[in-house]
Amino acid sequence: MWARMWENRALYVAISPFYILFAVFGLFPIGFSLYLAFHKWDGIGVMTYNGLNNFKYLLTDAEFWQAVGNTFMIWIYSTIPMLFFALIIAFLLHAPFVKFRTLFRVGYFLPNVTSIVAVAIIFGALFANNYGFLNYLLQSVGLPVVEWLNAPWGIKVAISSMVVWRWTGYNAVIYLAGLQSIPQTLYEAAKIDGASAIQSFFRITIPMLRPVILFTVITSTIGGMQLFTEPQVLVGNDGGAGAAGMTIVLYLYRESFINNYFGYGAAVGWGMFLIIALFSIVNWKLVQGKSS
């Protein structure tokens, strides 16, 4: 094997940049964070071996489990409406009667390339307790104001709405690509057999889209579990009132870079890795299971 590799060395050199960069910026940090998770380190001084203490602390850390709970709640609040709206938008964009399709596609995709920090600041102004735009609207129609950023659910709704706003168009474009790959003949055959539009949506479109839906569910699971910038800019490093906006990554960030428990932060990172892996498998089984 080595002889053959040596024979083709020019090719291996040509593809080496990726592996070198991956080793430096991917593999090394992963290995180092695992090493770090078994140590106590304030980031400047000496690192001391800490055994399994970081992990023991993690398992009994109420704040960590609250962050896990928050992350799941925000994931549910955001992913369900997001994928639902995305599917509807994609279906509409795919419909033959819609004009200026490219314009709409660009328009729906635009939120995805907007800076998250800018988005969070704008949403902060929308949801602000005092002088917020939403509360202004509520007041002007005679409804009582809602203290969005003081209520645990309010904070989660605000963060979720940012995620929905940002990622709906992205998923719609992916669904649109999936829709376009469904052979038109299937719909024509169904029409001849007398199927209604709703029947062909549920009997043809959804089953044919299953792999695409699986893909969007998995990516939004990973994205949702890694949520950080939105809550950080909106409610700050402590997750806002009652730590209701504290997500796992925000907790990792606070423990490492604000409280200087780098070893513990690394342990949180590995805890998060396990949770994402488990959750992705569960999701995959659920979505895949229906077809088989």
């Binding site: 304030d42 307790n129 005092n130 200087n260």
Partner: protein
């Protein structure tokens, strides 16, 4: 060999005439915007012709950048400005020069003792040279106090609203008068902070041991904050938010206890209220919030030159100048009587607020913070916010907070 001796010689003996050997030493200084006046830095370059000074204004998260640089052990500046989080760096005191070794002891009596001590580690190494300080006082709306039938002249306010109880009573009067539309003060964290900052101890003893959550000061600060919440005196406006600015500008907050640098913050947040604010001594005593330091890193090759520069930059005269240009409050009490400190300020209705803060600055109690102060303090203020904003049961939150602090200290 001769060459090496010559070079090292010039860095050890700064007293030598540097023009003779024409060798300039290069020094790098890290600071953040508005911590040192740029004009003063320009003058330092003229004053020290033997120093090639590179002053870098570090933007963004200053502390994170400094800590990353310290962790990387490369690219460190010679001199660095530190904020009141200096105590977080005490465990790494070996990364800094002991300023006592460089001659700081000679000028110790020119600076406020409590401020000086904040830059000295428990083992007695001085790693931070005093820059500005943050003595506290009561900022209040003269017009609203008058309308509510409270004393409104700064001296009367100082005399009558002299305790947190008296302050709370004034708050209830304001609440009554304005039908709940005007709150006494901004948020629960600021009340807790200010009561705590008036005490002589925090959470830790200088030997690093934990005093315990049942320390009298912690209990008093907690109970006072809870009482303010229960009496409905808090606007729940967090600092550094647009909501806080708006509440100040719209006259929904009648007062707050804050450090001298809040003058600038307030003027920028509430331009419409110009002329209506006054400053009196804080109820319950004087305290300090924030303030900064200059340190010399161990990696510097020219500590003595660096120290001479630091000493000049923060000399009493230059601190006085920076009070006038940047509102940085001096830590050298010798200049407190200067006419420049007694200037009348239009935003405060022509009151000269300098003397109020100068009085306060001289009464700040000594306090040891300890490197775990931020994490413990943060847990408590976070939980207090749950009481203030989500109406959590104070007793239950207290029990939980004690538990969390104990857990925090175990790791």
């Amino acid at each position: 060999m001769v060459c090496v001796l010559l070079i090292s010689g010039c860095s050890i003996w700064p007293g030598q005439d540097d023009s003779a050997n024409n060798k300039k030493v290069t020094l790098t200084l890290w600071y953040w915007n508005r911590s040192i006046d740029d004009k003063l830095i320009a003058r330092a370059k003229e004053k020290f012709p033997n120093i090639e000074l590179t002053a870098q204004k570090i933007g963004g998260d200053f502390k994170a950048k400094l800590k990353t640089t310290l962790a990387a052990r490369s690219g460190e500046p010679d001199i660095v400005a530190l904020n009141d989080w200096i105590m977080e760096l005490f465990p790494s005191e070996d990364r800094f020069y002991n300023l006592y070794d460089l001659g700081a002891g000679d000028i110790e009596d020119q600076y406020l003792p409590w401020k000086w001590k904040q830059g000295v580690t428990p083992s007695g190494q001085m790693i931070g040279f005093p820059m500005d300080t943050g003595p506290t006082a009561l900022f209040y709306r003269e017009d609203l106090f008058k309308e509510a039938g409270l004393p409104s002249d700064p001296e009367d306010v100082t005399r009558q609203i002299n305790s947190w109880d008296a302050y709370a009573a004034a708050g209830e009067q304001i609440k009554e008068k304005f039908g709940g539309k005007v709150f006494l003060t901004d948020n629960i964290g600021s009340v807790y902070n200010q009561v705590l900052s008036q005490g002589a101890e925090r959470y830790f003893r200088p030997d690093g041991s934990f005093i315990g959550m049942d320390s009298a000061l912690v209990r008093t600060s907690w109970d006072t904050s809870i009482a303010f919440k229960e009496k409905g005196l808090l606007a729940n406006a967090d600092g550094w938010t647009p909501g806080w600015n708006a509440a100040m500008n719209n006259g929904e907050i009648a007062s707050f206890v804050g450090a001298v640098w809040m003058k600038q913050v307030l003027q920028e947040a509430a331009p419409d209220t110009s002329g209506k604010w006054r400053v009196a001594r804080a109820p319950g005593g004087d305290g300090n919030n924030g303030g900064s330091f200059l340190s010399i890193l161990k990696s510097s090759e020219h500590p003595q030159e660096a120290f001479e520069l630091v000493r000049w930059l923060q000399s009493p005269e230059n601190q006085l100048e920076q009070y006038q240009t940047l509102n940085l409050f001096p830590s050298a009490p010798g200049v407190f009587d200067d006419p420049a400190m007694k200037k009348e300020e239009p935003f405060f209705g022509g009151q000269a607020t300098g003397p109020v803060f100068a009085e306060s600055a001289q009464q700040v109690p000594d306090a040891f913070f300890g490197e775990r102060y931020p994490s413990v303090h943060n847990i408590i203020t976070r939980r207090l916010n749950d009481v203030a904003k989500q109406n959590a049961d104070p007793q239950q939150v207290w029990t939980d907070t004690v538990h969390r602090v104990e857990r925090e200290l175990q790791r």
